[in-house]
Symmetry: C2
Subunit: 503 residues, 2 copies
């Protein structure tokens, strides 16, 4: 306290000097406290660019903006093109004199699609609010002097998934420069533009740019932190594959009174399909589905056991009475999952609908593959009497087959878990612990998906997750937000990885 007061008296608000006895992270904290308005403005500007799959112009604008941000900082920056209509990949290099290791910093600059009707405000006009509730009144940072209340949140699409990580990375780089500190590693930046689509062109990009991407480690700035708000590392992530199932009934909606009991009802069959595939405890009713599930190692089990319990507070936060299975959150997300993410059938009238849609989302674990999941799910449905189609059925098919379902599989990828005991893993963990000056939450695998497997499979390099977003950020839903303290903590963590990581 005395030191802070003394600094404030000696330097005033614009002071960037730091006490020579401070750690790097303490010096970065001081720098950040003097730059809070500019940092919030930077993140707001990024989030105001509508870089979502349905907006090619927004994606392009974001890619160019990020390239410029890197170039201004002395990076060799370029846009790697994946083909017509594919959002560009933002790539940058910055070599540190004398560094022997090269680290690639990954994040994605695209956001999830938005359903504007569900948002409290325009998802691309970011608003700072005083509380996690999106109905909380806005705060105008232009009228306030820092330090800002660290519980304030900035609301907007992609603000935390992943534009916070990008902002934290750039800020950490700026802080090191302001403090006169050279990076401890050579830096490569890899910012993707179609992660929320399932990264359909990523493998090709990695293969074509293999020599450019030579490195000793990838750090993935995606995903939320542990719910305890401890600094978090994850050593893997579940994979995923989504499928939209369309179930077919009569050619046109029919009066539910005159035909109910005789004409098959696709909305009912959609419910049947869901129950054909999943049990109430979350287990997946597909024979052989778990055959490729790799058991957890002792180190993985121990790291889960060492996590602080978050379930009681999450139950309150989410308003749920209990979890689906009998184990805790992290243990349950080590298993494959089948989520029903959408149901759609019928309209305002009382009719047997012509079609019903079910959107399913499979989360995979090593060593499952999307291809085998797809095969087994289709086999299961066929065994239960479903006719599985790849395209819209014609009238002859509809008139001759019962239980018709069209499956539109999205792109997918497998899950991944790295070796937590390899040298790069130990170095990252030690650096994170030193920066945090306390315990770090170590997850063997994140429940959410990032296409980590590609980096390891194609580039044969260790990959570790370094998330900074608050877990309660409404990621993938309306009213996504970023908590300021998470951004501040993220800047410190990134500065440690840029300035102190070595092995």
């Amino acid at each position: 306290m005395m030191k802070e007061v003394a600094l404030a008296i000696a330097c005033g608000i614009a002071c960037t000097a730091a006490n020579a006895g401070d750690t790097l992270v303490e010096q970065v904290r001081q720098w950040r406290s003097e730059h809070e308005p500019a940092l919030v403005r930077q993140l707001s500007e990024f989030a105001a660019i509508p870089s979502v799959a349905e907006d090619a112009t927004g994606l392009d604008a974001m890619a160019h903006r990020l390239q410029a941000e890197l170039s201004q900082r002395g990076f060799q920056a370029q846009l790697l093109q994946g083909g017509p209509g594919v959002p560009a990949l933002v790539y940058g290099e910055f070599n540190a004199p004398g560094a022997k290791r090269t680290v690639v910093f990954y994040a994605h600059y695209d956001g999830q699609p938005v359903n504007r009707a569900e948002w409290e405000a325009d998802p691309f006009a970011p608003v700072l609010r005083g509380a996690p509730n999106p109905k909380a009144p806005p705060v105008d940072p232009g009228n306030l002097r820092p330090p800002f209340n660290p519980e304030w949140r900035l609301f907007g699409r992609a603000v935390s998934d992943d534009k916070s990580s990008i902002t934290a990375f750039l800020a950490a780089f700026d802080a090191l420069k302001a403090l006169g500190r050279a990076p401890s590693v050579n830096i490569k930046v890899f910012w993707e533009g179609e992660e929320e689509l399932g990264s359909p062109h990523l493998a090709d990009l990695l293969r074509r740019n293999r020599s450019l991407l030579t490195a000793d480690l990838w750090l993935i700035g995606d995903g939320p932190m542990h719910q305890s708000r401890r600094p978090t590392l994850y050593f893997g992530a579940r994979g995923m594959i989504g499928v939209k199932a369309t179930v077919y009934g009569p050619l046109r909606p029919l009066h539910s009174g005159h035909y109910g009991n005789w004409v098959p009802n696709p909305a009912y069959q959609a419910a049947e399909l869901v129950m054909d595939l999943r049990a109430p405890d979350g287990s997946i009713r597909v024979p052989g589905f778990d055959r490729d599930v790799r058991p957890l190692t002792t180190a993985e089990r121990e790291s889960i056991a060492a996590l602080p319990p978050v379930e009681p507070s999450l139950k309150r936060e989410f308003g749920i009475a209990q979890g689906e299975g009998s184990d805790g959150l992290t243990a349950s997300t080590m298993r494959p999952a089948l989520n029903v993410v959408g149901l759609q059938a019928g309209g305002p009238g009382r009719a047997i609908p012509a079609t019903a849609e079910v959107s399913l989302d499979f989360r995979l674990v090593p060593d499952q593959t999307p291809e085998r999941v797809r095969e087994r799910v289709e086999k299961r449905l066929q065994d239960l009497g479903w006719t599985v189609l790849q395209a819209e059925p014609d009238e002859a098919t509809r008139s001759s087959k019962s239980k018709l379902v069209k499956l539109d599989w999205g792109p997918g990828y497998p899950g991944y878990r790295a070796d937590m005991t390899q040298p790069a893993s130990r170095a990252v963990l030690a650096t994170a612990q030193r920066a945090a000056a306390g315990p770090v939450a170590v997850l063997p695998m994140m429940g959410g998906s990032v296409p980590i497997y590609l980096f390891t499979q194609i580039l044969d390099v260790p990959v570790i997750g370094l998330p900074i977003a608050n877990h309660d950020n409404n990621q993938h839903a309306a009213n996504e937000n970023a908590r300021l303290q998470n951004l501040w903590d993220g800047i410190e963590t990134y500065s440690a990885m840029l300035g102190e990581l070595n092995w």
Copy 2:
């Protein structure tokens, strides 16, 4: 043929004279053939008035228009008010000199709600088309000379449910007058304005106007004809009750990767709820549900057996491979039904939704009641571990109870089957057969619902259904339509009931 040619030569197109040897129905047919443009115009004008529950102004305009139509024809007409916000009931009386029986003609002037996005054209700007396909090019009747092609169809909301019946009734009355024929019965008209809402104020209206409504028979001009297109009588109808079930998950949508397998998913539970209540063969998984089902009589079973088979052609028409159960259409609609008429959960992102909605529609048969159905369904769900709510749960409830479902029950009413052997039944059947000069489709009960039980329960009077709409009219769905031949046949049937019915 000779007679028709002679008539055409003698009278030209505007001739209303009829051959003295013709039956009443033949004379009415001749009259109709000379008035086709005016009849189509009349129905179009009715259908252009948006008399649907969400449009109070449209309902009011329709009620006043119908009152005026009756007054112009010499009826004592009035609007019976059911209370603030309740659409008026259109009532009219016309006494025939010497008639000993009084018949009430029921229809409803309200239509089902519309989802404009699903319609090929504005549902309240009726369009005549040359085919049942709503994409068929429009036909402009103003440019054509009658006779019109009887397969043409007029598209628009309520055009056949029930505005065709109202048009046919008025036309039959006009035809009798033009032919100089007095009605054989005293006529009362009872045109309701909230049938599609489940007739919530009908009982009260009937009780308050009991003396006004004294009669020997009600004829119900609602519902579709048998699929064979034979003239149709039905001696009852299934009852109904709808319920919207809202299933609750987390307070806000959550990332399906980070939380899938731990946070309960309401979209999944919605599927579970559907399967908790209904088996794939259509049977209802609610203990005691069938306890109140009255067996069919011998006469009822015989009338079903005498129906021409329509299932093969309907399977082609609807594009379905087979019926849900093992019996035919009419036999299957003699049982209670549980229809899933709506499913809604999730949005464009990959999230565990906060809530999911299932709209269910129960069709009831004598002697089931909505009250007992409701009790048994709620008991069933409670027995399976559901917490059944009547109102939105607060956070304390959400945090303490699993499998939360709010049930919003709509208004409902029981089913009804009349005695097919009573004198009024026999007289109506004989009149219909004479008018048709051929077999009539006799249904013990219609699959769809009309609140017949009220008339019998409150007024203690026989009730028989006299539908004229084509079965393939898209009733209760988008692109509702009326086939011209059905309107023409309906005018003949109504003229027989107005001019020849007696017992």
